[in-house]
Each structure stands twice: as C-alpha cells, then as structure tokens.
C-alpha cells in the first residue's frame, strides 16, 4: 500500500516530504484531455465561421453590384433579373400571422397553465402534450396545414396561399411560445403574488399588474426566438404549396391584403429553389438570398439572447 503510506510519525525528513508532495509524472493525460475538448469547441466554431464566410463571399457579387434590384426583384428564371422581393413579402406576412395568432394564444395558454391550474389533471395533460408538439418535425406540421388549411378550409384561405402558410407556421411555433412564456412566468417569485393578493386583488389583477410585467423580458425573448424560427422554416411551406418557379401578379406592394389569398412564396423557399438550379449564376443568387435571411434571423436571435442575458443579470 505504498501509495497510501502515511508520514505521520514525525521522524520523516523534510526532503522525503518535499519529494512526495511534488508528485510523480506531469499530468500528461490531463493536459491531453483538455486539448481534445478545446479542439472540439474550436472545430465547431470554425465550421460555423466557414459557413458564414462562404455564404457572404458567395453572395457578395450580387449584393455589391445590384443590391437594390436584388431586394426589389421578382422570381425569374433569368439570373440577372431575379430578386427576392416576393420572398420577403411572403415571409413578412408569415411573420404577421405568427405574431397575431401564436403570441396571444401562446402567452394566454402559458398564463392559464402556470397561474390558474398548476396542478390539475387537465394542465398536466396539456403540459405533456405541448412538450410532444414541440418535438414534432416541421414537415408534419406541413401535412397538418395541407390537410386542414389548404384542403378542408380551402374556401376560407383560398387554398395554397400565404394565409394557409401563416396559420400553419403559427401553429408550429405555438408550443415554443407556450413553453418559454411558462418558464418566464414560473420564475416570478411567489412573494410578489402574495403581496398583490394581500391587498385584495383578484388573480387576474395580480397577473396583469405584477406577474406579467416581471415576466415580460423572458416572454419577449421567447416570442422573438419563435419568430426567428418561423421565418427560417421551409418544409411546411413546401407542403402547403409555396410556389417555386414563377409567381405571377408582378410585384405588388408589401402590404397588399388582397394577396393573402393568392399563391405565394417565402424567403426560405426562394433559397431552396435557387439552390436547385444548375446555372452557375444562381449559386451567387442563392448565397445572396441566404445573406438576407441570415441577417434577419440571426439578428432576431441575437437580440433575444442579449435581452435574456441582461435581464438575468439584473435579476440576480
């Protein structure tokens, strides 16, 4: 048991102690382990950096020479005239539908689950159900959208339209809004609620005047993240019938309500279509469109996360 031998009888010399305390070999495996972990982190960041650089340099030729035309142009099979305007318009409307439908319904559901019914059978079922829905692949939501909003309710939505797409994507992000809002509400300390009840407020009044303001940054973070998610999705749009080659009707304005019941496209679909075109010019166009999409999505994500971090730091 040499390794565990004690040196406690007082007669051991100082040199022996010093030698033992210095220890044997240098910690080779420990250093190697740390290096491997660091390498994993570096490779991850490097790959993502390469992606961003590749996309940026690819799109530079288009963005630098004809940025305005590009943003305002329409879908066209001719590379030098193609632009993303219709994609932007479609994505804009999808964002609107998400905000109008998913946010109030999602936050409302979260309030109910956390404040009114925290431990009933109903709320537990709903909770499990929402967690499952959050993990359902987006393409399955596409099928739902197709079956219900394109086919069954086609009379109301007009079939393969941006309205059908918008409602579908609102449903897709609804579980995310509910989960993040519920977490933000749960983080509100109980003594805040008790103070409100103590002066005779009803539950809704406590929620409206105390809980929601406190939870607002967290809820906001969740909604912004889910909006970014909705803007990036393509699979459900394909299922709902977004146009891929050519969208008639010219340009139109951004906020033309009449177009809600027409055929549509969106930014991620434009990217998908152009990615599949064999002509070399379309490579640059795809990269340019990606830059536009990334700019919006990453900006939203960054804003949401910065918001959350600042709010967490303030609360600590």
């Amino acid at each position: 048991m040499g390794v565990l031998a004690t040196i406690g009888d007082g007669r051991v010399t100082r040199d022996v102690v010093a030698r033992r305390l210095r220890g044997g070999k240098r910690d080779a495996s420990g250093t190697a382990f740390r290096a491997v972990l660091l390498a994993a982190l570096v490779v991850t960041l490097a790959v993502l950096a390469v992606l961003l650089v590749d996309v940026w340099t690819g799109g530079w030729s288009v963005l630098s020479t004809r940025f305005g035309d590009f943003i305002n142009g329409t879908l066209s099979s001719r590379a030098n005239r193609a632009g993303v305007f219709q994609g932007i318009r479609g994505s804009f409307w999808i964002a609107m539908f998400t905000i109008v439908l998913a946010f109030p319904l999602g936050i409302g559901a979260a309030i109910y689950l956390e404040e009114y019914a925290p431990n009933t059978r109903f709320s537990r079922i709903v909770d499990i159900n929402i967690r499952n829905l959050a993990g359902v692949p987006s393409v399955v939501y596409g099928i739902l959208g197709f079956a219900i909003f394109v086919k069954a309710l086609g009379g109301f939505t007009g079939g393969r339209t941006v309205m059908a797409a918008g409602i579908t994507l609102a449903i897709l992000v609804l579980p995310i809004v509910i989960i993040t809002s519920a977490e933000a509400i749960r983080a509100v300390p109980d003594n805040l609620r008790e103070a409100g009840f103590g002066v005779g407020a009803t539950r809704w009044e406590v929620i409206r005047h105390h809980v929601l303001p406190y939870a607002a940054p967290g809820i906001l973070t969740g909604t912004v993240l889910s909006l970014a998610r909705a803007l990036g999705e393509a699979a459900p749009l394909i299922l709902v019938g977004a146009t891929t080659d050519f969208l008639g009707g010219g340009k139109g304005s951004l906020v033309d309500i009449g177009q809600l019941t027409d055929r549509f496209t969106a930014l991620p679909i434009v990217i998908t279509t152009w990615a599949g075109r064999p002509q070399v010019e379309f490579r640059a166009l795809t990269s340019a469109a990606i830059v536009v999409l990334l700019a919006v999505v990453l900006l939203f994500n960054a804003a949401a996360i910065l918001l959350r971090n600042r709010y967490e730091k303030k609360r600590r």
């Binding site: 048991m1 390794v3 565990l4 031998a5 004690t6 040196i7 406690g8 007082g10 051991v12 100082r14 102690v17 010093a18 033992r20 305390l21 210095r22 220890g23 910690d27």
Partner: protein, 260 residues
C-alpha cells in the same frame, strides 16, 4: 512529545481587493484536535482551506505568507496541490456524498489513487473508523443519498479516511446536523485523533471546549479607511487555558458569551 505538523507565518488571504484575513501565525501539532473559533466572517474557513490548497479553486484568491508542512513550503510552485490533498483531507460543512452507492463513495479516493486489490478491506476499515459500518454493512450498494444527514456526514468522513491522510480538516462538520448526530461525530473525532491530526472550524464554542486540545480564536478588525472587516488571529493556546484564563480581553468576551 508533540511535533508541529504545520507552521504558519504571516499568512494573509485576499479575494480580489478584499482582504479576508491577515498575519496569521500559528503551529498545528500532530495527533491533536485544534479548533478555530470566533464569530462569522473572520476568516476561519479561509485559513483552513489554505492548509490543503483548496483556495486554489477560487479564481480571485491570493495567498501571501507561508505555510510549512513538515518543513516544506506548501505554496512552493513545484508542489502539486493534488498530492497535497491526498495527505491533507477535508470534510465539508454540508454533507456532499456523490450520487453513487455507499461503497463507491468510499472507494472513489483509493480507486483514483490506483488501489485495485484490497478495496473491500479499505472500504470496511474506513467505514468502521467512521462509526458507520454497522449501520450500512448490509446495504453497501444502495445509494448514498438515501442515508440520513448524520449518516451522510459520517460517510463523508469515511470517504476522507479512505485515502489514509495524515491530516483531516473539518469545516463546521456538525452545523447541518442535529445534536445527537453531532455528539456521535464528536465521539468519532476523539477516537481517531490518536492516528490523525485534526483541525476543525466551529461556530459552536461548547463543541470546541469539549473536543479540542488547542484553540485559535479569530475575530475581525474594522479598517476605518476602506470600511471593510479583516480577520485576525487574536489568541492561540491550549484549550483549558483559553477557556479558564484567556490572555486577551476579546477572547474572554467571546468565550464567556458576552458577544458572538
């Protein structure tokens, strides 16, 4: 004849700008129980954690002065803190068993040190020493978290004993326990002190009086300029003398319960 195990001279510890304790000078003798007593915030735990270089784990901590262990400077750059901690073990304030079985908790240290063959023996011996063997011998494979608070703390002591250290540092080991569990651990300390050197930080003055051979009394002094409190060692003596005839007035006020 008792030999000094540790010789501390002009030890000061700062966390960033804040000086937690200054100019500590003392000797710890072998096979004795030395207690650090004093009100909270006067650096007792900080000083304790210097003996096994646990303060290394705090980024902002800076240690000045010297601690010699059998004549070797513990903070010499050539000294490996891992080796230091194999010989100077620690029991913490709140029991912190690993979420593994009782057996695996005690066996962890020896396994890591390379012991393979006599593990069962080592585990049994350590658990007996910690006065826990009879209570757990039939369920060594069950989870350590299923034990009561007092049993968990004795398990942590067994775990520390399993690597056969020379010194055991205890940081308020009974503060999270009820009086009966506390009593058992105090009895334990009395039993094992003939084989180990024990340094204990305690908030409980009566415990120090019951259990220790020597006492170090710490208090804080206020720095008027920076409006901070820095810990200092006021008096260090044999326990009987400290409690019956203390030299310093501050010590007398503390041990007679006038403050703290």
């Amino acid at each position: 004849m008792t030999h000094p195990v540790f010789q501390v001279s002009e030890l000061s510890v700062s966390y960033g700008e804040f000086r937690a304790v200054r100019d500590v000078k003392m000797e710890i003798f072998d096979n004795e129980i030395t207690a650090f007593i004093g009100p909270s915030g006067c650096g007792k735990t900080t000083v304790l954690r210097c003996f096994n270089r646990m303060n290394d784990l705090v980024e902002s901590a800076r240690v000045q002065g010297q601690i010699e262990y059998h004549g070797v400077d513990l903070y010499d750059p050539a000294i490996n803190p891992v080796e230091v901690r194999r010989r100077i073990g620690m029991v913490f304030q709140k029991p912190n068993p690993f979420p593994k079985s009782i057996y695996d908790n005690v066996a962890f240290g020896p396994r890591v040190a390379g012991v393979k063959d006599d593990l069962d023996e080592v585990v049994e011996r350590s658990l007996r020493r910690a006065a826990l063997w009879d209570e757990v011998k039939d369920r060594l494979k069950s989870s350590a978290t299923s034990l009561s608070g007092g049993q968990q703390q004795r398990l942590c002591i067994a775990r520390a004993l399993a690597v056969d250290p020379e010194v055991i540092l205890m940081d308020e080991p009974c503060s999270a326990l009820d009086p009966i569990a506390t009593g058992r651990i105090e009895d334990l300390m009395e039993e094992i002190k003939s084989d180990y050197t024990i340094v204990i930080v305690t908030h409980n003055m009566q415990q120090a009086a019951r259990v220790s051979d020597r006492c170090a009394f710490f208090t804080t002094e206020v720095n008027e300029v920076s409006d901070t409190r820095t810990g200092i060692l006021v008096e260090y003596d044999r326990t009987e003398r400290m409690f019956s005839n203390p030299g310093d007035e501050r010590t007398e006020n503390y041990v007679t319960g006038r403050f703290g």
